[in-house]
């Protein structure tokens, strides 16, 4: 593990037995797990290169229990790491040796479906897909659909502001959540938003979404539901170069078309996927673009014609329109299975998540090839082409000495490259521990201090998920100080009227 976590608190470790006992009084029965064997499944999340057994695992079932556990930990100065399904790819749920791991899996009920207001009220441990399934028979769905949607939970989606393949048109989690109940580290329970639109004061819900479990523990969520489009069809387009594919994406958007989904894969990814899924992907192209149009049949047919023409103008060498729902799903099955497919051709892979201005794609892919040569590692690329979110999969073998280190160094270079061309470190996987130490490539000390002051407003003792997101933790008292530089500022320069 190359990332240093906050030093464990010896006093907390020494009190472990007493802490476990106290927690058992708050969460009875099997809700407190303290043996090494039973805690083992919680030692890592989707970023498997990192693992750490927690102090103890607590699985509360009610908001009241969450509140009591947090209040107890707050009073005792014990760190807490919240966890949803544990699918984080950035180590957001990586336990701490001296921290309680608060698993939210038992919060798994859909509490209310209100189709008149087009919302559902769910507990945070409900999986992303389960929300859509719960309302499918009425023709509704929940729009964000990260690839891990079978397993990942709504609570985790809030922590990471998850997107998925449809977010160019339908937005990310932050655009699809209306309200939540959160418990602060003190145990205080607050409700933000509800079934209505707009925040009533500061947009605290907007701050919670994407905060990676550092501000509060979400215990209930109100999500927007959308009516399913009448039809959806996908076009699969092959290009002789990624430049051509990138140009096609720009041309589609410039024509005023916002597809429901627009995904790109490079040659290594296409080959890995085709071998695995047999989706009928062309193997002789350098880049493959999947474009999905949704809406009434008349609209979809009209737009597909236009997309086909744009693709031809952009030198597409193959173009296939799905002729049935089954075939549309098959086209997508390939894309959605890209990660496991790559997992089959390489013992290990390291999934990156930068976002770039779309026009920079050819440049970024070219530099990435050079980096691959430099680090002597393979790389396959899948790309949310509509919104510029790039997922390079770096192929390595953890059993070969030095390969993991090289993969991590390669990954860091890729992310620096994303920032250099005007993009960002992470589109939807989060900073977690993985990209924590790269934060200064995007933010100044002042920027990071301002963000940490938000953290202080929610969690003044810094006990909730410390060691994630911020490379250096400052005490809130220190951050709160004003550094006044004196009264005689250059006022004469500023025009006054």
């Amino acid at each position: 593990m190359s990332v240093r976590m906050p030093e464990a608190d010896g006093a907390v470790l020494a009190r472990r037995q007493a802490i476990v006992k106290a927690l058992r009084t708050l969460v009875p029965g099997e809700g407190v797990i303290a043996t090494e064997r039973e805690m083992k499944p919680f030692e890592t999340d989707g970023l498997t290169a990192y693992h750490q057994l927690p102090l103890v695992v607590v699985l509360p079932e009610t908001t009241e229990q969450v509140s009591q556990v947090l209040a107890y930990c707050h009073a005792e100065g014990i760190k807490v790491v919240p966890r949803g399904a544990g699918t984080s790819l950035s180590g957001g749920a990586l336990p701490l040796e001296d921290g309680v791991l608060l698993g939210m899996a038992k919060f798994n009920r859909v509490k209310e479906i209100d189709l008149d207001n087009r919302v559902a009220v769910v507990e945070p441990g409900v999986t992303n897909l389960a929300v859509s399934v719960a309302v499918a028979s009425d023709g509704f769905y929940y729009a964000p659909d990260p690839s891990s949607q079978i397993a990942c939970t709504i609570g985790g989606n809030i922590a990471e502001n998850s997107g998925g393949v449809h977010c160019l048109k339908y937005g990310m989690t932050t655009n699809n959540v209306l309200g939540c109940e959160i418990v602060l580290m003190t145990g205080e329970v607050l409700r933000l938003g509800g079934k209505h639109l707009d925040a009533e004061g500061y947009d605290l819900l907007g701050l919670i979404v994407g905060s990676e479990g550092l501000l509060g523990v979400v215990t209930e969520v109100t999500v927007r539901l959308l009516k399913k489009p009448e039809t959806a069809r996908a076009v699969m387009i092959g290009f002789p170069s990624s430049e051509d594919a990138g140009e096609c994406v720009s041309a589609i958007i410039a024509a005023g078309i916002i597809p429901g989904g627009m995904e790109m894969m490079d040659k290594p990814a296409i080959h890995a996927v085709e071998e695995f899924v047999h989706a009928g992907y062309p193997l002789d192209v350098e880049a493959l673009l999947l474009v999905e149009l949704d809406g009434p049949g008349a609209e979809v047919d009209h737009l597909i014609e236009r997309v086909e023409k744009i693709a031809r103008d952009c030198r597409a060498v193959s173009c296939q329109v799905s002729n049935s729902e089954q075939q549309r799903l098959l086209f997508w099955a390939g894309r959605k299975a890209a990660f496991p497919a790559v997992g089959r051709i390489s013992p290990d892979y390291y999934c990156m998540d930068g976002t770039i201005p779309r026009a920079q794609l050819p440049q970024v892919l070219k530099r990435m090839k050079e980096l691959a040569t430099h680090y002597k590692l393979g790389v396959a690329n899948v790309f949310h082409a509509g919104d510029g979110n790039l997922h390079p999969l770096i192929l390595y073998d953890s059993n070969k000495p030095g390969e993991l280190d090289r993969a991590e160094a390669f990954g860091s270079d890729v992310l620096r490259l994303c920032v250099e061309v005007g993009g960002v470190l992470t589109g939807e996987h989060g900073v977690g521990v993985e990209k924590r130490d790269l934060m200064p490539t995007m933010f100044s000390e002042i920027d990071l201090a301002a963000q940490q002051r938000v953290k202080c407003a929610f969690d003044a003792k810094g006990l909730l998920n410390p060691g994630k997101v911020f490379p250096v933790l400052h005490r809130c008292a220190e951050l709160g100080r004003m550094h006044i530089s004196g009264g005689q500022l250059p006022f004469p320069d500023i025009p006054r009227f």
Partner: protein, 404 residues
């Protein structure tokens, strides 16, 4: 008369706020001042006028992104986008005329600070949903940046959300980056005539629950209908907007018309009338009229199906109409010096949601809460957030709540 500081660039803004912070001065942060009448009356020492921070600094239509200095006129941005067949999808309303000011004022920074939106809110969200990146000067006199120029970004806290809708109380924005979108090829509207409030809410819910992809849903009761442009008759109208490519709009227009027939007589509006109608809805036309301007005006956000119950809880002498499928209710009170905050707050407490006293004489805005009062826990958290950004209360102190 307070002094006005007019910074020429972002550095001047930082200097001005740092100066104010070190001299215990409070600043009234404004762009064009088109929304100055909104909020609690402020006691500031000076005005920080950001209107000289003017200019679009980046516009890449194919990347759907635009960056501008915060004081750039909204009208200039909308014109630039229109020349490329694009638009701000959140369709910000224009508060100016509600206060008797000319239309078309306002800056992009102000639009974001007030988290403005329009009738497309049900589909496209508000300013916050399109706000990608920011550079701003906090009340500490420090320049911070957050977000970026890409849509998908979870790198650090989403500080853009904190600033959107903060009414300039946390930081003075100097540069903003927003998502822009293609303008729909055409639009049309379906009108159901003569419905009462309850039936109208049911009709709007049916339309919103269909796959017709409605991009505007409003109910304009009898007593205000004559103020709206484009309607076939000046009587109660429940209106639904459809936008997109021509074959799609045609198809959905027919589908929606048959869906709504059981509710009452249906009329169809072509593109021209539809544009006129939704412009007047967006501008809250009845309450911007000379005859209505003295009336205290509330903007109430609640769950769409609660709208009708909400109306029952408010004095029958009030005038009102429903935007956003009923989720937003504009209410104009009958008497100039009576906001009737008590019944409004009781209604939001019972039904959920929140109310803002958008327009009222200063004395009234000083006497009653302008923004929805928060419970002790939320109020304390809001205050801690404010203190993190602006511990000395330099920026618009007290505009949202006393002491914040």
């Amino acid at each position: 008369m307070t002094d006005i500081l007019k910074p020429r660039d972002a550095k001047d803004v930082e200097d001005a706020v740092a100066w104010a912070a070190s001299n215990d001065k409070a600043l009234d942060v404004v762009g064009h001042g088109s929304k100055r009448g909104i909020g609690r009356p402020s006691q500031t020492d000076m005005t920080l006028d950001l209107s000289a921070l003017d200019g679009v600094t980046l516009y890449e239509p194919a990347e759907l992104v635009l960056s501008a200095k915060a004081g750039t006129p909204l009208a200039a941005i909308e014109a630039l986008l229109a020349s490329n067949n694009q638009q701000l999808d959140f369709e910000p309303m224009d508060y100016g005329p509600l206060f008797g000011a000319p239309a078309g004022q306002g800056t992009i920074g102000g639009v974001i600070a007030a988290n403005q939106s329009g009738p497309r809110r049900i589909k496209a969200g508000a300013a916050r949903d399109h706000f990608l990146g920011v550079t701003a000067v906090t009340g500490r006199g420090e320049t911070i940046k957050s977000g970026g120029r890409v849509v998908k970004n979870v790198t650090g806290y989403d500080m853009c959300k904190a600033l959107a809708g903060s009414w300039g109380t946390l930081a003075a924005m100097t540069d903003v980056t927003i998502k822009v979108l293609p303008k729909p090829e055409t639009q049309a509207s379906v009108v159901v005539e003569g419905l009462g409030d309850a039936q109208a809410c049911a009709a709007m819910a049916a339309a919103m629950g269909s796959s017709c992809d409605v991009s505007g849903a409003a109910h304009l009761p009898d007593h205000v209908a004559s103020h709206f442009a484009g309607l076939p008759r000046p009587e109660a109208a429940t209106v639904l907007r459809l936008e997109g490519v021509t074959p799609s709009v045609e198809h959905r227009k027919q589908a929606l018309a048959s869906l709504l027939k059981p509710f009452g007589p249906v009329a169809l509006l072509d593109e021209k009338d539809s544009v006129a109608l939704w412009t007047s809805i967006r501008q809250v036309a009845p309450f911007a009229a000379d005859s209505a301007r003295a009336r205290p005006l509330w903007r109430i956000s609640t769950a769409p199906r609660q709208a009708q119950r909400l109306a029952e809880l408010i004095t029958p002498a009030a005038q009102m109409f429903y935007d956003w499928g009923g989720g937003l209710v504009w209410v104009a009170m009958p008497f100039e010096n009576e906001a009737d905050a008590g019944s409004i707050r009781r209604a939001t407490a019972e039904l959920g949601g929140h109310a803002t006293l958008v327009r009222a004489p200063a004395a009234l805005r000083a006497a009653v809460d302008v923004f929805e009062p928060q419970n002790a826990g939320l109020a304390a958290l809001s205050k801690r957030v404010k203190d993190g950004f602006d511990p000395k209360g330099v920026l618009n102190p007290g505009r949202m709540w006393a002491g914040v």
